[in-house]
């Protein structure tokens, strides 16, 4: 009787372990799928950021500054500088955060994939370093001197971010490049792109 009980208990334990392994592998698949979607969302979001040149061009617009400085008083000029500095800083911080997220996913994806060449990895690393360097210089420049004086540097930041996206793209072949003017909304988890 004791032996039968022992076998029954052992069998139940084995069954429990098997059920646990099955559950764990399923949740990992779901997690990978979710992460895959999340990676694509981040990349798509980043493409959206990079592609919103209209936003960057507006914030750093020389035309706007020429209009304000030529046609208004000192108070309005100061208001303009303050507002544009604020917008530039928000954009910079947001881009930095998304690039960091992209790199986190990139590193995780590279660990799983075996067809990433050393040249590609070095390229991504270089683009990331250049982006970080430009980002910090730009942040300080905008904070100290305002966005108008940092216009050229902003072009570099956008360029390096775009290069980074292109370098990472091969890991996410299903994400299509989308025209910035046709992307309508970004909300949590959902990107609506009109063709």
């Amino acid at each position: 009787m004791n032996q039968i009980m022992a076998f029954v208990i052992a069998g139940l334990l084995l069954l429990a372990v098997l059920v646990y392994w099955v559950q764990r592998s399923r949740s990992q698949d779901v997690k990978k799928e979710t992460e895959g979607l999340e990676e694509q969302r981040i990349l798509a979001c980043l493409q959206f950021e990079v592609l919103t040149k209209a936003f960057v061009e507006r914030v750093f617009s020389e035309q706007d500054w020429a209009f304000i400085s030529g046609r208004t008083n000192r108070a309005v000029r100061r208001l303009f500088q303050t507002q544009r500095r604020r917008l530039a800083m928000i954009w910079l911080r947001r881009t930095r955060k998304q690039v960091t997220q992209l790199m986190t996913f990139y590193r995780a994806a590279v660990r799983q994939k075996i067809d990433v060449t050393a040249a590609v990895e070095m390229r991504v690393a270089l683009d990331y370093m250049l982006f970080l360097l430009t980002y910090y210089v730009l942040l300080i420049s905008v904070w100290l001197r305002g966005p108008m004086q940092a216009r050229k540097m902003m072009g570099y930041a956008v360029g390096y971010t775009s290069q980074l996206c292109s370098s990472c793209r091969h890991l996410f072949p299903t994400v299509k490049a989308v025209d910035s003017m046709r992307i309508e909304t970004v909300s949590t988890g959902r990107l609506i792109a009109r063709q």
Partner: protein, 148 residues
Amino acid sequence: MRADVERTDIHRATEDLKNRTLAKLPGDIARLVYLAGTRDYNTGRYHHDGLAFHFTEKVAGLALAYCHREVFHHLTFSSLEELVRQLEIYVQSTREQPDTVLGAWKKLESYRVTVPLNCDPLAAELFVSNITIALAALHCGRQDGSLD
């Protein structure tokens, strides 16, 4: 097939709205205010009796939302000079005292409710920022006549 039919209907509803209603409004800010006004503040859904009568409630809502986003996008990425000009046109169209309108807009920040529901937060920030600057520029211009 059904999606194609719906897309066609939305396109037709949009054209109808633009040609019959929006074209008659004086400037983009008036259009933005009008389109934002068709939105229910509690649900965020758009409603237009005439449009819903000719199409469906859903199609009318989508057409209104599309036009709203389009006008908002255009204004958000316009130059400040253009925005000031649009604001001037709008203020004149209200037939109220310009200082009253400008003062109310500055204090109430009524322009904030004209932002579409699901637009990018950065675009919303840019729009609000530009309107703030444009209001100040217009007020300054009225004081010294430099924007006439």
